[in-house]
């Protein structure tokens, strides 16, 4: 399967550092800030952002993790997401929540994540940070912070590898072999 690397480990690192600064700039500090990573790869990204922010602001930002398996609207027939663990370490009511995910595509995962978040409380504001925005939105949703905009076709897949999950950092575009309707 032909594969093209679009973000190296260094690129990913720089993007996350920039996003971390943008989050703090846009929110005028870390007050009331919570980072919530969408499983699977949004979670380590959220943690890295929190660590980076702690590095330059000297403040710990709480990090939560969200499994959206129970909220998805796109589970095809006979396929069942294995459920993971949601853990939101504090009451998010009144907080500024930044959802973090690896790839923004149709927007359906984000819609599911918003539904899940609303069951936990009433945030003051929800923002979205993604490593890659690959276009093809099917819902009127957008990211506030983007690592890289990558135009793709529907035959392609954006493969994100992160050290915490896959052993190394890399984002590549993979040509899909079979045709998906």
């Amino acid at each position: 399967m032909p594969e093209k690397v679009i973000l190296t480990a260094a690129d990913i690192h720089r993007a996350l550092v920039r996003i971390a600064h943008e989050i703090v700039e846009r929110n005028r500090g870390c007050h009331d800030l919570v980072l919530v990573g969408i499983l699977t790869r949004g979670t380590p990204l959220a943690q890295r952002l929190a660590d980076t922010i702690a590095g330059f602001e000297g403040q710990e930002v709480p990090v939560g993790t969200l499994d959206i398996g129970l909220y998805r609207d796109d589970v095809p027939l006979h396929r069942l997401p294995t459920l993971r663990h949601t853990s939101i370490p504090l009451d998010i009511s009144g907080q500024r929540v930044v959802l973090v995910d690896d790839v923004l595509y149709t927007g359906r995962s984000i819609r599911a994540a918003l539904d899940a978040l609303m069951d936990f409380g009433r945030p003051q504001m929800v923002q979205l940070a993604v490593l890659v925005d690959r276009g093809h939105r099917e819902l009127p949703l957008r990211a506030d912070y983007v690592g890289k905009n990558v135009p793709t076709s529907r035959d392609e897949e954006v493969a994100v590898k992160l050290a915490e999950v896959d052993g190394r950092d890399e984002v590549s575009i993979v040509q899909r072999e079979g045709v998906r309707l």
Partner: protein, 319 residues
């Protein structure tokens, strides 16, 4: 897969019906227990509800009385946003002579997706499953099976002890008439537990050894308890004494009641399970049923989560 985030892995669930654990592999049971973890997390939230089974309908069809099983299933369905229809035979057309098959077909025609059944005759849910496209979950059939009870028992043990393989369990009481014992025997065997069944000889038939060759049979409680990590006490039904299978309830209590002294014959820290409702002062002394070793309340709490997990696995993947 159209979403930006691909789900981590996809499971396969191969059981259109949940009738007994004899058809469940270790992998199947592990899948249920892992899914139950996720459901327990939902039950810990301020809003104990997720939209996963929105638009699905679960019917409870109980031909025998029940508190915990029926309420547990109904709550499980509602927590997943499914609609619930409850039918108890005494107030249904069964009174007018409507057959089980007709009842089940009627529910199917109304758009019910899953029927949870409890019936006094062994095999009734199997009959229902043959005559309908609905999924059937067995909530207890005669003396035969109670698979969801066994699953919640296993979950409760794993939650408390962190593992199941190699644990030694003793099931005490009226084994002959116990669907809870039978399903647990299948489930415990699948997960690699060692099981001893113990009870009065009249309630512990030799034929048991044919169906469950791996279970050790004991009629002496002290011998059965030695080395046990888990003691499961079964409910003693008063009818058994009336039928002459027991000389008296007092004799059962004298020989088989689990008291703190008897529990000390098992491994230190041994845990106590009971499917409920407990006949206070019969199967368990109050010090045991309300004591630190008792997992009875956890069993009830976990019952909702386990049933949510099953409903999710059976219905959650259908677009």
């Amino acid at each position: 897969m159209k979403a930006g985030t691909t789900p981590p892995t996809t499971a396969r669930w191969g059981h259109p019906h949940v009738l007994d654990l004899d058809t469940f592999s270790l992998h199947d049971i592990q899948q249920v227990l892992e899914t139950t973890d996720a459901m327990k997390e939902v039950l810990g939230r301020p809003i104990r509800r997720v939209p996963t089974l929105r638009g699905k309908t679960v019917a409870t069809l109980f031909y025998e009385p029940s508190t915990r099983t029926r309420a547990s299933f109904e709550l499980a369905a509602k927590n997943l946003s499914a609609d619930v229809v409850s039918m108890a035979s005494a107030t249904s057309s069964t009174v007018k002579g409507e057959s089980l098959v007709d009842t089940v077909r009627t529910l199917e025609a109304m758009g019910v997706d899953v029927i949870v059944m409890r019936h006094p005759q062994s095999g009734a849910p199997y009959l229902a499953a043959r005559h309908t496209g609905c999924s059937i979950i067995n909530g207890g059939d005669g003396w035969h099976a109670h698979p969801t009870q066994a699953l919640l028992d296993l979950y409760t043990l794993q939650e408390r002890l962190g593992r199941l393989e190699g644990l030694r369990a003793v099931i005490v009481g009226d084994i002959l008439h116990s669907r809870v014992a039978r399903s647990n025997l299948y489930g415990m065997a699948a997960v690699g537990m060692e099981v001893t069944v113990c009870g009065p000889p009249t309630l512990l038939p030799p034929a048991f050894a044919v169906a469950f060759p791996h279970a050790r049979r004991e009629t002496e409680l002290a011998a059965a308890l030695e080395g046990a990590d888990v003691v499961m006490a079964l409910r003693l039904q008063q009818e058994r004494q009336e039928a002459g299978l027991l000389p008296s309830v007092a004799e059962y209590i004298a020989r088989y009641q689990i008291t703190p002294q008897r529990l000390s014959l098992a491994r230190p820290g041994a845990l106590v399970l009971h499917p409920g409702p407990v006949n206070q002062g019969v199967e368990l002394s109050p010090e045991v049923s309300y004591g630190a070793a008792s997992l009875i309340e956890s069993q009830v709490a976990n019952g909702v989560a386990v049933r949510m997990a099953l409903l999710y696995l059976m219905l959650g993947g259908e677009g």
